[in-house]
């Protein structure tokens, strides 16, 4: 058996942002297995200081190029909570639909463009255009459906234009929504084919007992606002988010880390599913069962399957949401905003896990202090501890350097990290 190993991955590929993996084994003993985040900080929390409330969603959406809709919605929710505003039912429904379609596009991007190449032994989706044209066509079709719906409801798929504090600047055409509902119903067979493809992939056999943090269900599988829960039994109110996140700084990362009941915790699709399994839609639950995914699952690679299950859930629920708004006449799109002194928190489940925005306002509605806690930053410590455990397991199994390097990369990728977002 090889006794010493030196594995370095500079700027891991097929993830958002810049991170490195460094593994050292000497005489059979693990010296270190490190997940290092080297992303440049952009200082969004400082940028916002002294800005008026209406700047925040516009600026904060730009924290992330994948989940800009989620950031915008969390920012809006924080402001509305600070100003004691409750969005109308119509606004809530449209926001959830928009959120669902971001989840779908982001999960499909991760599953097909970032993860699938690992299992099909290629470096990217590009060679699959020739070798697996059906797969690429299906991926593009599902992503297009999600993005078209984001354009329709949010005005733009990336950095949305219509989403504002108080509601929307304008509403979609009902005929277009009806067409989307039809396309969503038709997409079910593409999701079935996606499931067949992923069922053929052998996920690494690895598990490490983990605490999972997400929003907790009150009336359905949760995405926007509500209580914060952990699989270790912690439950906190939304405004008390700091008691969940407990951010701290570490040398190996320009992103902050988090902890709760243990040395680290995980957020994301697997956490949501572990904490809210009974609230999945019927089709989603069936798919989870077909993959043998039941709570509480401690294999981080199963986050990939959890994302697939959530794709089914958001598609099934979205058809219902569209029916809801089609059944009643439109009410006015936007409520008037009256700024107020105080603090507001917005917690939203974005594709990679729970996201918090918190702002403190003066009487004129200017931001005095801002705090954004990103899902990937909450995951970094857990990735670190998983990476150590996975390396130890693979070393003891006598795996080759290539196998260890590949599994380490796949581990980080399975969290679907959004690294520039986590540093922000």
């Amino acid at each position: 058996m090889k006794l010493s190993r030196k594995i370095d991955v500079q700027h891991l590929t097929r993830v958002e942002g810049h991170g490195n993996i460094s593994i050292r084994v000497r005489n059979g003993a693990l010296q270190h297995a490190r997940w290092e985040v080297v992303e440049t900080p952009r200082f969004f929390e400082a940028m916002l200081v002294d800005k008026k409330w209406d700047n925040a969603p516009w600026i904060c959406g730009r924290i992330c190029g994948i989940c800009s809709i989620g950031h915008t919605l969390a920012s809006i929710r924080a402001i509305e909570n600070a100003f004691n505003m409750v969005p109308t039912k119509q606004t809530q429904t449209l926001r959830l639909l928009l959120k669902h379609m971001e989840t779908l596009q982001s999960h499909i991007l991760h599953l097909y463009f970032l993860v699938a190449p690992d299992f099909l032994n290629v470096g990217s989706i590009f060679p699959l255009i020739e070798s697996h044209p059906d797969v690429v066509k299906r991926a593009a079709g599902l992503k297009l459906l999600a993005n078209d719906t984001c354009d329709l409801v949010g005005g733009r798929r990336l950095h949305p234009t219509r989403t504002v504090v108080g509601g929307f600047t304008m509403l979609p055409d009902k005929k277009d929504l009806e067409a989307v509902r039809h396309r969503l119903e038709e997409s079910r067979s593409d999701l079935e084919s996606t499931a067949e493809l992923f069922y053929s992939f052998a996920l690494p056999a690895f598990a490490r007992e983990t605490e999972f943090v997400s929003l907790g269900a009150s009336d359905g599988y949760p995405f926007i606002g509500g209580d914060l829960v952990s699989s270790d039994g912690v439950r906190k109110a939304e405004h008390d988010y700091r008691a969940m996140t407990n951010e701290y700084l570490v040398e190996q990362s320009t992103s902050k880390w988090s902890r709760l009941s243990r040395q680290s915790f995980a957020v994301g699709a697997l956490a949501r599913l572990n904490n809210n399994f009974p609230h999945l839609s019927t089709g989603a639950r069936k798919m989870a069962e077909a993959f043998g995914l039941a709570p509480v699952n401690h294999n981080p690679f199963m986050n990939i399957v959890a994302q697939l299950v959530e794709c089914v859930h958001v598609v099934e629920e979205s058809t219902g949401l569209i029916s809801e708004v089609l059944d009643v006449p439109w009410t006015r799109p936007r409520e008037t905003v009256v700024p107020k002194r105080g603090m507001g928190v917005g917690a939203v489940e974005v594709p990679r896990g729970i996201l918090y925005h918190c702002y403190e306002f003066d009487t004129k509605g200017r931001i005095r202090r801002a705090d954004c806690v990103i899902p990937t930053s909450q995951n970094h410590a857990n990735i670190q501890h998983d990476l150590e455990a996975l390396t130890l397991q693979y070393v003891s199994e006598g795996r080759s350097d290539q196998e260890i390097e590949r599994a380490a990369q796949m581990l980080v990728r399975s969290y679907d990290p959004c690294i520039s977002c986590s540093v922000h």
Binding site: F43, A46, N55, G123, S124, I125, F126, R156, H159, T161
Partner: protein, 271 residues
């Protein structure tokens, strides 16, 4: 991606080796390329993508065209950019962060990076410098504007590049595109809007959705700021709203400097 020789009106068309890079950014402009599902395959057919870290594992330093997203906020990024400049025949500043600094340059307005660092990282040492556009460090051959870039415009520009045609950005402002689209004027809805002074080419993306323009594409050739100030005043829109928009993306940096004396005081919040 087909491998056979492409032709345009009977003339062979090269497939230039192309690389994508990102500095300080949300990586959204690169994602806009993958977000372009309907025409993605045709687009990829135009280029030979040899480096695109966010989407592919393969890597190469041999390329003709480099698309660089993001602004410069740290020393190591200057070195990366200079290396890219050396390797590339053509360097494209891809998106508003690369062209003007983007939202990242909002931190520059405090003129006190020590405070900015402390506000986010407390006592922990962290390296950062003023967010600056690529052109402050290297020669940029072509700018593709927008936060985010508009995929139709990217495709048009890239097609022209590959075919050897010239690439010209519109000289006129967004306002003209907005009028042509017969939108209700945002001023009449009581919204601030930089459409009259911002360079067109986005087809009035935000105003089409009843959101006033924030100037992410920078100034048009003739940007009459004084005129805009008068119009906004007439509609009762605050000067603060105008300045918020002008300073959001960095394209109007010199105009903002002219309009607002830099506030050297530290923000009132945690100092």
């Amino acid at each position: 991606m087909t491998t056979g020789q492409r032709t345009y009106m009977g003339v062979p068309v090269p497939r230039p080796r192309t690389a994508f890079f990102e500095l300080s950014s949300c990586e959204g402009c690169q994602l806009q390329l993958l977000n372009n599902e309907a025409t993605l395959l045709d687009f990829l057919d135009l280029l030979e993508v040899v480096e695109f870290r966010e989407a592919m594992t393969e890597h190469s330093d041999q390329y003709e065209i480099a698309f660089v997203e993001g602004s410069i906020t740290r020393r190591d990024e200057v070195l990366r950019l200079k290396k890219i400049r050396k390797d590339a025949r053509l360097l494209v500043a891809f998106g508003t962060c690369a062209c003007f600094g983007g939202v990242n340059q909002l931190k520059n307005r405090f003129h006190d990076l020590a405070w900015v660092k402390k506000a986010v990282y407390g006592k922990q040492a962290v390296e950062t410098q003023e967010a600056r556009p690529l052109r402050d460090f290297v020669e940029v051959d072509l700018s593709i504007l927008g936060c985010p870039v508009r995929k139709e415009e990217v495709e048009k520009i890239v097609t022209n590049l590959v075919l050897g045609k010239s690439v010209n950005l519109p000289k006129f402002p967004v306002c003209m595109e907005c009028k042509a689209n017969r939108n209700v004027c945002l001023f009449d809805l009581g919204e601030a809007c930089l459409g009259p002074v911002t360079r067109a080419g986005c087809d009035a993306w935000c105003p089409n959705n009843r959101a006033g323009c924030w100037g992410c594409r920078g100034p048009a050739d003739e940007a009459n700021l004084e005129g805009l100030e008068l119009v906004m005043k007439k509609y009762g829109i605050s000067r603060e709203s105008l300045l918020d928009r002008l300073e959001c993306f960095g394209g109007f940096e010199s105009q903002v400097r002219h309009l607002r004396r830099p506030s050297r005081k530290k923000p009132r919040a945690r100092g």
